[in-house]
Amino acid sequence: MLQLFLLLAAALFAIGLYGALSQQSIVMIMMGLELMLNGVTVAAGAFWHYLAPASAAGQVILVVVVVAMAVEMAAGFAVTTAIFRARDVDMTDMAADLKR
């Protein structure tokens, strides 16, 4: 059963990676990153349940991942707001252009 949960986690991670690499919109890239972290939460939960439920380490990793999600979301939206305000850009390809 652990392998099935980890396979699901790997699938979520891979789908998120595809989104993070292929999308142009900054908001959609953030969705991809969130999906990758979603995979990590599933894996951490499965590790805790199937390998070491007597230890709190698995739960602590989950808390760290949840905080990482919150930080990614807040920082991502702040950067999006800043670059949209400064250059009217919400796509990575436009943000990468070095033009006046």
Binding site: L8, Y18, S22, V27, M28, M31, L35, V42, P53
Partner: protein, 186 residues
């Protein structure tokens, strides 16, 4: 029963996660991501992590609401009224993600996983709280500082520059020329 719950929620999480990048409507993509998180949160609850599963579900509902607002504010086609493609290097991204999945799957089935050690405590939430307030206190402190730094950085980045802003220590320095009005050059 665990197997049945997994086969309901697991494929739902993966399929809705996949649909995030298939929908042309931003609103639908946000809802698909939310469904994926709800299914994952449900799996966590089923694994015995009631508190953390609930935290994930509640946090993701709030995040997706905020994300929907940002989508409508920033994206050109929030309702998906026109089909759109906002991809770059689609084939390369697909190849990389399939390769990563294959690598992870190979590792999952090749690794000699140890047997389950011990049993979950009667109060799982207490186990987490006792760890964070005890041996894992340093982790909790680092997480707290990280969240605080994120709050400060987010506000600084998102706040519009005011009339008292200057660039560097030189009071006579002029702001740089800016291609868009309203930015650093006003």
């Amino acid at each position: 029963m665990t197997t049945a719950v997994f086969w309901i929620l697991g494929p739902l999480a993966a399929a809705s996660g996949f649909m995030v990048f298939r929908f042309s409507s931003m609103a639908r993509a946000t809802i698909a991501l939310l469904v994926s998180f709800l299914a994952s949160g449900g799996l966590l609850i089923w694994l015995g992590l009631a508190y953390l599963g609930t935290v994930v579900i509640l946090m993701m509902i709030m995040e997706m609401v905020i994300m929907a607002v940002f989508m409508i504010a920033y994206m050109m086609n929030p309702a998906g009224l026109m089909p759109m493609a906002m991809y770059h290097n689609k084939r390369g991204s697909l190849a990389i993600s399939i390769a990563v999945f294959a690598l992870l799957a190979a590792g999952i089935f090749a690794a000699p996983w140890p047997r389950r050690a011990g049993a979950p405590p009667r109060d799982v939430t207490f186990q987490l709280g006792a760890a964070l307030m005890g041996p894992q206190m340093l982790t909790m402190i680092v997480l707290g500082i990280t969240l605080f730094a994120t709050m400060v950085a987010s506000v600084v980045l998102a706040t519009h520059r005011g009339r008292y802003d200057r660039f560097g220590d030189d009071l006579k320095r002029r702001p740089p020329a800016d291609p868009m009005r309203g930015g650093v050059g006003r």
